[in-house]
Structure formats: structure tokens, C-alpha cells
């Protein structure tokens, strides 16, 4: 198949021509990185689970067997358990968003985002259950109506006003994160509300220690609980301030060029200092902040669309909204603030030596970068809506030769006969007979990802061999 050259159409005036399809740069770095294995991620996950158990343990030890004989005692006990769980989960939620390099590279930003969403729902339920159970339990104990008891809690118990406020903030955050609601909200509003979770952390702090049955007494439990707060705040400072500052002072990234890849897709080339020392794997992403008048206050994650080399970095972006439209007009020399790299969608996280890559639309960008570092012999299925939407095809042609990659371009929408035939278990096996033994790298629009996951499951590909680059929020 051949495709018309699509470059010229969307290029902004005055931009230098593409670097000939971004042929791999002079630095010949791309080589297959050693496998990392799932050990690190498992250790971190196990630590988080152990922490959860440890945070409920004080209640377990403090409560003699057989001591919960009244309804009030039972309700209050359940309220305490959920309170401890909620306190711990809130810390984990904030920790996961701390951008700590360790977490970003071992668990990966995409996976963290998924955990964060699922834990967020759990946290919300735990907070509400905690408040409700304690309220009802105390009301029952003192034989008062629930509303009166709420008044008593707010008036007579220390730090309870701020605790109720913290719960309110968390409910608001949880509510606006429900997918259906989130979609109709402007991103900025959602983001601002999410920033308020730091407020919840602060407001909810006091009541745990002034009223928490397991925490109000000085002792090891209280000390450890405070230590957890210290750790999380330290991680925040490190991940959000110190590490990015060090990275950006070291590499000083700036825009070198903006190039049109297709009518609605651009590539941004960046240069900087000491790029050869970047600890970057193909398929990883940074959170980019372009320091221009209109863009500096927004940070967006984009994958790099080529493996690391010592001359440039590149991200390839589909123009879908006001922000990405502005990116077309970036001037060379614009400073760029980057946080990262992050992600486990890399050749280092493969489980075997052969891979199948499935890309949809602009999802090709991280795949193109991974492909450069995978061992030879991979297969790529690339679905694009029209021939004009095929991105980076000259680089793909080059990779097909240099890395022995078999590439199938599937043109048409997901529901056209061609793509539908390919995306079936039989279709996949027809193209890649050994698909069950391959790592599968999957990146594309949500519909394609969901459909591919289902097909891969039917075809019998173990889930741990499947790598996702979507944030799936």
C-alpha cells in the first residue's frame, strides 16, 4: 500500500520542513533495554497492602474479643475501622499522585491513574461509611437523635468542624470524578477541585489525633501515623518540586521546531542540554508545560514519539482542542518544563522477546518509540481512519527494515469490514500465529482498546503480557 504525502497540509507558515520524517537521529542509542520484570511493581503493591493491614491492626489489638456487645459499640467499631482505612487510603491517594520518580517508573503513570481512580471510589465510600457509622453509633450510645448528635460532635469534639469540611471536599472531588459528570465539566474546574484534596488532607488531619480512639494517646501508633504523613509530604515535595527542578535545570528543554505530520497532527521537536544522559525509554511520557503566555499554566502528558537520542526529543500531538491548537504556534526557543519520564509502556517491561503492537490513530506515537527498542521480529497492526491519517509512516517503513518489523495498515473506522475482520481472535491469529506467546502493546482510542482487550482475552493472551498506554480515566 502507498499513501499520499500528508505533511504539507497542516503545517503552519514559516516552519522548516520536517526532518525528513524524523529519520532516527545521529546518536545511535536505540538498543534493546534489559528486561525489568514485574518485581518492583509487586513489591510496591505488597507494601501498600501491608500498610493497609497495619493501619487497622491497632484497632484489632485495642479491641478485646467479645467486647462489642451493643449495637452502639458495633457501629462505632465499624466506624473506627472505616476511619482508619479512609485515613490510610487518603494518604495512599496523595502519595500515588506525588509523581515520585520511583512510582512513576516502577508502577507507571497510567497504572497509577487507574489505581487512583479505583481507590478513589473506595476512599469515598470509606469516608462516608466512617462518618455515618460513627454518627449513628454515638447517637445510639447517647440515645440522641442523629441530627442532635451531629451537633454535639461539631460543638463538643475538637477538630470536628474541619473534619466535616474535609469529608465535604472529598465527596465533592469524588462526585466530580464520576465519569459521566467529569465529561461535562471543564477540565480546569475538575483539576482545581482535585487540587482541593490537599485541603482535605490538611482539614482531616486534626480530628484523627484529637478524637481517634487508636490515635489520641501518645504512643507508637500515633507516632507511626504521623510518620506516614511526614513520608507522604516528603514524597510530594520530592516528586513535585525537587525532582522536576533538578531535571529541568539539568536538561533545559526548549522547542526546536514544530512540524506537521498530518492535517491534524503535529510533532514538536525539543532540544536541551545533556540529552544523552536522559534516563528515557521509548513509550514513556512526560508531563509537558510549554512556557508561553497562553500555555504555561497547563501541564499535559504526551508520550515521546521516538526513542531517546542525544540530539532531540519529540512529541507528536493530535490537535483536538484549544490547547493543542495553540501548540501549533510554538516558537522555536520556547522553554519547556517537563516532569518525567514516566510509564511502563516500554520495551523494558516486555515479558518475552516477541511483540505484537496494536495502534489506533495517534496512538501510534508511543508505539513508534517502543518499536525502536524492541528486539527484532515484532509485528505491528496500525489502524487509521483514512490513508491521510497514517502518521510517521516513513519512520515505520524504516523500522520495518531496520528492526525486521512486519506492519499491517488497517484503514477504515472500527466498524468497517476490514478492521472488523482483523480484530477478531481468528483475524489476529491469521496475521500473527504465535500471538498467545507475544507481548501485546496497545495504544489507541478507548473503543479500540476495549475491543482489542476483549479479542486478546478470547484469543488467550495472558493479561500480564498486555501493555496499555491509555490513562483510561
Amino acid at each position: 500500500m502507498t499513501y499520499p504525502r500528508t505533511h504539507a497540509a497542516g503545517r503552519r507558515a514559516g516552519t522548516t520542513p520536517s526532518r525528513d520524517g524524523g529519520r532516527p537521529a545521529g546518536g545511535v542509542r536505540p538498543q534493546v533495554p534489559p528486561r525489568r520484570g514485574p518485581g518492583g511493581r509487586r513489591v510496591l503493591a505488597a507494601l501498600l497492602v501491608l500498610g493497609l493491614l497495619a493501619s487497622v491492626l491497632p484497632w484489632w489489638l485495642d479491641t478485646p474479643a467479645g467486647s462489642l456487645r451493643t449495637t452502639a459499640a458495633t457501629l462505632t467499631a465499624a466506624g473506627r475501622i472505616t476511619g482508619l482505612v479512609a485515613g490510610y487510603l487518603l494518604l495512599v491517594q496523595v502519595l500515588m499522585m506525588s509523581r515520585l520518580p520511583l512510582l512513576e517508573r516502577w508502577i507507571g503513570g497510567e497504572q497509577i491513574a487507574r489505581w487512583h481512580r479505583d481507590l478513589g471510589a473506595t476512599l469515598l465510600v470509606a469516608v462516608l461509611a466512617h462518618a455515618a457509622l460513627i454518627l449513628v453509633g454515638y447517637a445510639d450510645l447517647e440515645d440522641k437523635p442523629i441530627l442532635t448528635e451531629a451537633g454535639v460532635l461539631l460543638r463538643d469534639h475538637e477538630d470536628m468542624v474541619s473534619a466535616f469540611a474535609a469529608a465535604g471536599v472529598l465527596v465533592l472531588i469524588g462526585f466530580t470524578s464520576v465519569r459521566a459528570i467529569r465529561r461535562v465539566l471543564p477540565y480546569e474546574l475538575w483539576h482545581a477541585l482535585h487540587l482541593a484534596s490537599y485541603l482535605a488532607l490538611l482539614l482531616g488531619f486534626g480530628h484523627q489525633f484529637s478524637n481517634g480512639a487508636q490515635l489520641f494517646r501518645p504512643g507508637p501508633v500515633r507516632t507511626l501515623w504521623i510518620a506516614m504523613y511526614v513520608v507522604v509530604v516528603a514524597a510530594l515535595v520530592w516528586g513535585r518540586v525537587v525532582a522536576p527542578l533538578a531535571f529541568n535545570l539539568r536538561h533545559r528543554l526548549r522547542v526546536a521546531d514544530v512540524v506537521a505530520e498530518s492535517p491534524d497532527t503535529i510533532s514538536i521537536y525539543l532540544t536541551g542540554d545533556r540529552l544523552g544522559e536522559l534516563d528515557l525509554l521509548g513509550g514513556q511520557f512526560f508531563r509537558w508545560r510549554f512556557l508561553t503566555r497562553g500555555c504555561w499554566w497547563q501541564s499535559h502528558p504526551f508520550s515521546v514519539s521516538a526513542a531517546a537520542n542525544d540530539r532531540w526529543l519529540r512529541l507528536t500531538v493530535k490537535v483536538v482542542g484549544a490547547y493543542t491548537r495553540d501548540l501549533r504556534d510554538l516558537d522555536p526557543g520556547t522553554p519547556v518544563w517537563a516532569e518525567g519520564p514516566s510509564g511502563t509502556f516500554t520495551a523494558a517491561h516486555r515479558t518475552g522477546d516477541r511483540a505484537l503492537l496494536i495502534a489506533g490513530g495517534s496512538g501510534i506515537t508511543p508505539i513508534r518509540a517502543v518499536l525502536e527498542e524492541l528486539p527484532p521480529g515484532s509485528a505491528l497492526i496500525y489502524r487509521a481512519r483514512t490513508p491521510a491519517d497514517v502518521l510517521l509512516h516513513r519512520e515505520l517503513d524504516w523500522l520495518a527494515q531496520a528492526r525486521d518489523v512486519r506492519i499491517w495498515y488497517v484503514i477504515g473506522s472500527r466498524n468497517d469490514p476490514g478492521p472488523r475482520q482483523v480484530l477478531t481472535p481468528d483475524g489476529l491469529r491469521g496475521l500473527v500465529p504465535d500471538v498467545v506467546r507475544r507481548d501485546v502493546y496497545l495504544c489507541g482510542p478507548p473503543g479500540l482498546v476495549a475491543q482489542s482487550l476483549a479479542v486478546l482475552r478470547q484469543a488467550g493472551v495472558p493479561r500480564r503480557q498486555v501493555h496499555l498506554a491509555t490513562f483510561e480515566l
Binding site: 487497622v56 484497632w59 484489632w60 489489638l61 485495642d62 479491641t63 478485646p64 474479643a65 467479645g66 467486647s67 462489642l68 456487645r69 451493643t70 452502639a72 458495633t74 467499631a77 465499624a78 475501622i81 472505616t82 482505612v85 487507574r114 481512580r117 479505583d118 481507590l119 478513589g120 471510589a121 473506595t122 465510600v125 470509606a126 461509611a129 450510645l141 447517647e142 463538643d156 469534639h157 475538637e158 484529637s210 478524637n211 481517634g212 480512639a213 489520641f216 494517646r217 504512643g219 501508633v221
Partner: protein
């Protein structure tokens, strides 16, 4: 979303399981109270024994974290006039050997554990002759920060060598406002101790 549901279900299930595991039939709790409640009046030589019998099993599950020993320990040296009464273990021998025969011996009497919705209350009084010279709360509700605070108020008002108990020489004490239940239980245990002493 499926994982979130799973996590929420897990949270609910494990919370329920833990509460159920800790609720039990309550047999052990009843057994703990029986010896204390049915304890015969304990004059001085036996003083420490029922105290241990009554308070021991109660205190042990909460372990060293319980502040009760700390409270009585900090109060004791500051407020008690007679060193002999401070330590229950030394009590039987110390006054008798070291003091003059004319001086009345002190003895301690421990009241039963009285339970209310917030926890248990147990009072021990020290008598010199028939006069109450000291009152100590062996156990007070302290499970929540607030009941701990209330217990502290009750303890401050009632207990000690200059507390209300010693001033009134009886169990007819004013209720500490905001701590009715604990005050009442305190008086019940105190009254029983006085009854035993006489």
C-alpha cells in the same frame, strides 16, 4: 470500575468480618466481671488480690497502651500523704511494722466493676479506721478521646486524698456535668466499696 466495586465490597466484607470476630458471645466478658462483682469485702491484707483479679483481665487486652496506670501513677505521689498506702503490695506489712500501735491501720477496699455504655468503672478506697483517706479509680471509660476527657474530669473531682470522696466521706456526690454516666457508675462502685468496708 470493576476493581473499584471489588475493593468496596472487600472493605465492607472485611469490616463486617472484623466486627463480628470481635463481638462474639461475650462469655469471657461476663466471666471477668463475676469475680470482681461477687468478691467478698476485701480488707487490707487481701486488698491487692481482688484488685488484680478484677482489673487484670480487663486491662490486659488493651495492653500497655492503657493510660489508666499512668494516670493513677502520676497522681499518686503528688497527692497522697502516706507513703504506705501508695503501694498495694507493701500495704499489709508496712504500716504495721513501721508505725506506732496507737495509729490506726489503713486498709484498701476495692469496689466492683460497674459497667456503663462507655466502659467500666471501678473504684478503690483507702480507709484509715472507718475514715476514707483516699479514693482511686482503677478503671474508667477511656476508649474514645471524649470519654477519656470526661473520665479525667470525674477522676479529678472525686478521686485523690482531697477529692470529693474524702471530703464527703460517702458516695453522695454531685454529678460531674457532662459526665453523668461515669459519675453514676463511680458512685455505685464507691458505695459498694464503702458497704464492704463497714
Amino acid at each position: 470500575m470493576r476493581r473499584a466495586l471489588l475493593a468496596i465490597t472487600g472493605l465492607a466484607a472485611s469490616t463486617t468480618a472484623m466486627v463480628v470476630l470481635k463481638s462474639g458471645p461475650g462469655a469471657s466478658q461476663v466471666a471477668q466481671e463475676l469475680p470482681a462483682a461477687g468478691q467478698p469485702v476485701a480488707p487490707a491484707p487481701d486488698g491487692p488480690a481482688p484488685t488484680d483479679g478484677g482489673a487484670g483481665p480487663e486491662a490486659s487486652p488493651s495492653g500497655a497502651a492503657s493510660p489508666r496506670p499512668r494516670r493513677s501513677a502520676t497522681r499518686a505521689p503528688a497527692t497522697r500523704p502516706t507513703a504506705g498506702a501508695t503501694s498495694g503490695a507493701r500495704l499489709p506489712s508496712a504500716p504495721r511494722t513501721s508505725s506506732a500501735p496507737a495509729r490506726p491501720t489503713t486498709r484498701t477496699v476495692t469496689g466492683p466493676v460497674v459497667e456503663n455504655e462507655y466502659g467500666n468503672v471501678q473504684v478503690r478506697i483507702t480507709l484509715s479506721g472507718s475514715r476514707i483517706v483516699d479514693a482511686v479509680a482503677l478503671e474508667l471509660p477511656e476508649e474514645t478521646a471524649q470519654s477519656d476527657q470526661r473520665s479525667q474530669q470525674v477522676d479529678d473531682r472525686y478521686s485523690g486524698t482531697s477529692g470529693l470522696v474524702v471530703q464527703q466521706q460517702g458516695a453522695d456526690l454531685d454529678t460531674v456535668s457532662g459526665a453523668t454516666a461515669t459519675s453514676t457508675s463511680y458512685r455505685q462502685s464507691l458505695q459498694a466499696a464503702i458497704d464492704r468496708a463497714n
